[in-house]
């Protein structure tokens, strides 16, 4: 197996997007009548460097085969590539390889945990060891008001199936989780929250939330979709029980994501999807299941995608996540400073860099987010508009929709500066500029 080439910008002091951009072919295309693409929607999905695409192609052209089955050479090579990717991704987030389950995306990872708990609750778990995941009336699941729907709806549904109660931490005016506004109880079984808000960019006080959850014996699930791609994350140091993230938000392929679970928990947890590859012994009367992570990877898994995600992790590792984070903080500062100067613009979320990542949401007085987005699009600037799958959070701030700009390693200061100019153009177009 060849490993992915290091990015050109690796080893530089800091990170220079100009040096990296040739790795991302899509960034050199034009949109809407020949305008250069200004891609400020990496929070929805990031672009992939050629190193990731090359790794996928090389795998498919040289090693493609179903993993964990077959005794031929290709099967061995494919399995090695798949497991090597798992090991590198695990190292990237401070975990052991066996603690990482490949799923199609973070949404599936959260559903996996929710359904494993559901199965435990109706006593179709593995046995007494699965009892710790069982829920019933009177038990509580706690989330926050700023969650992406992916970390809300699966828990609502789990509550519906088990009779448990959903509770949530409210969000402060600054866009922080209000940790003192909710008391956990002995009946709190799960506390699930986003490491970094996909709308506001605010970073959760993980240590404090974990401390409070531990004090009542609750399990902690961290939605790391917007943190793992952008800042150094050590899941073991954060001391969470479960974590999820998606490949396509971290320069990797879509169709692959990761569920992290502490070994002792994964070992006691019943499967969600069942079928081939996840079994230990199958008889007509019933089956027993493989140890994790295989227990949770039913069927032939996504393979070139996992290999591509391994290459993405290599790419990010070579750049250094400290550098990635510093770069995005510099961009966020520019975004906040330039947007703040535009009368009628209101930042939704923290107005400083403190405990914050590179996602900036805002509203423009008198111009709906859709209309702002349309004017930006006309200038080649791609942003996300709407509720960004965080509808309750928007309701909390009394807005139907926001404009969201989000960044990654390839985003330049010049691109971010164009945002405020575009907003002014929208105000002018709709006659609301001052």
């Amino acid at each position: 197996m060849t490993t992915a080439q290091a990015p050109a910008g690796a080893g530089l002091a800091g990170l220079d997007p100009a040096v990296l951009r040739p790795d991302f072919a899509i960034l050199s295309r034009t949109v809407r009548d020949g305008r250069p693409l200004v891609y400020l929607d990496s929070g929805a999905t990031s672009q992939r460097p050629r190193q990731v695409l090359d790794a996928e192609r090389e795998f498919l052209e040289q090693h493609n085969s179903a993993v964990h089955r077959g005794a031929h050479q290709l099967a061995e090579e494919a399995t090695d590539a798949y497991e090597s990717a798992r090991a590198r991704i695990a190292a990237f987030v401070g975990a052991d390889p066996d603690e990482l389950v490949f799923v199609k995306n973070a949404t599936e990872g959260i559903n996996l945990v929710a359904y494993a708990m559901s199965n435990s609750s109706i006593r179709t778990g593995l046995g007494p060891e699965s009892e710790r995941f069982a829920l019933g009336p009177g038990d509580e699941i706690v989330v926050t008001e700023l969650e992406h729907h992916a970390n809300l709806v699966p828990w609502q549904e789990l509550c519906r199936r088990t009779g448990a109660t959903l509770r949530w931490y409210p969000v402060t005016d600054e866009g922080r989780i209000d940790v003192d506004a909710l008391e956990l109880s002995e009946r709190t079984k799960v506390v699930a929250f986003a490491h970094q808000s996909n709308v506001l960019g605010s970073v959760a006080p993980v240590q404090e939330l974990v401390r409070r959850a531990r004090a009542v014996g609750a399990l902690v699930l961290l939605d790391a979709c917007q943190s793992v791609p952008h800042l150094p994350v050590d899941l073991r140091a954060l001391d969470v029980d479960f974590a999820v993230f998606s490949g396509h938000k971290m320069l990797g392929p879509s169709g692959v994501g990761v569920l992290y679970g502490r070994t002792e928990l994964l070992e006691a947890m019943p499967p969600f999807l069942t079928g081939g590859s996840m079994i230990e012994l199958v008889r007509m009367e019933g089956s027993t299941y493989a140890p994790p992570p295989q227990r949770f990877e039913a069927g032939v898994p996504m393979t070139s995608q996992a290999v591509g995600l391994g290459a993405a992790v290599d790419y990010l590792t070579a750049l250094g996540m400290e550098n990635v984070h510093a770069h995005e903080m510099a961009l966020t500062q520019v975004a906040l400073d330039t947007l703040r100067e535009v009368p009628g613009v209101r930042i939704v979320g923290p107005d400083s860099l403190e405990a914050r990542g590179g996602t900036v949401a805002f509203v423009v007085d008198g111009v709906h987010a859709h209309d702002v987005g349309q004017v930006l699009d006309d200038r080649g600037i791609a942003v996300r508009v709407g509720h960004h799958c965080a509808w309750p959070l928007h309701r909390r701030f009394g807005v139907a929709a926001t404009v969201r700009a989000s960044f990654h390693v390839y985003t330049t200061v010049d691109e971010v500066a164009q945002l405020a100019d575009g907003v002014r153009a929208a105000q002018e177009f709709f006659g609301t500029g001052r």
Partner: protein, 151 residues
């Protein structure tokens, strides 16, 4: 610039001073429609004549972008005073144009000011915005006809 093709002056005029805005009494049925991708909402009321054949009044409250607000405004102009049958023909023509990816030649005889929304059809993400009010109108009329009068 493509922007003017989409946001034609007629659309901007309706957006700035929408017709039929503000929910009115009496009404026979009300429909609330939501655009799940952006959270925009419209509540629309319909008043038909006693025979249920003519549209006497339409009023709405729209929380949304310029396209959804202007579209609801144009709708009230086009359907108030028409028979239900005629209004459904206008609706069908509007829907065909909006979903036509810019390939459907709109009939100005039927659509009047609503032909201004032809440019929106080239932006798939905005088609739902343009249709929101029309879907509410359709739903409300069906509710009246089904006798499901809801206050």
């Amino acid at each position: 610039m493509q922007l003017e093709q989409m946001y034609q002056e007629i659309i901007l005029d309706h957006y700035r001073s929408p017709h039929g805005s503000g929910l009115k009494d009496p009404f026979d049925a009300e429909s609330q429609q939501i655009n799940p991708t952006c959270g925009d909402e419209i509540t629309l009321r319909v008043k038909l004549d006693d025979a249920g054949e003519k549209v006497l009044d339409v009023s709405h409250e729209t929380l949304g972008c310029s396209i959804s607000q202007a579209s609801a405004s144009v709708l009230t102009d086009l359907v108030i005073g028409q028979t239900v049958e005629e209004s459904m023909k206008v609706l069908a023509a509007f829907q065909e144009m909006a979903q036509g990816r810019g390939k459907v030649e709109p009939d100005e005889e039927v659509l009047g000011d609503a032909v201004a929304f032809a440019g929106v059809a080239k932006y798939p993400a905005r088609v739902k915005c343009a249709l929101l009010g029309w879907m509410a109108f359709k739903d409300a009329v069906v509710r009246v006809q089904d006798g499901k009068v809801e206050a």
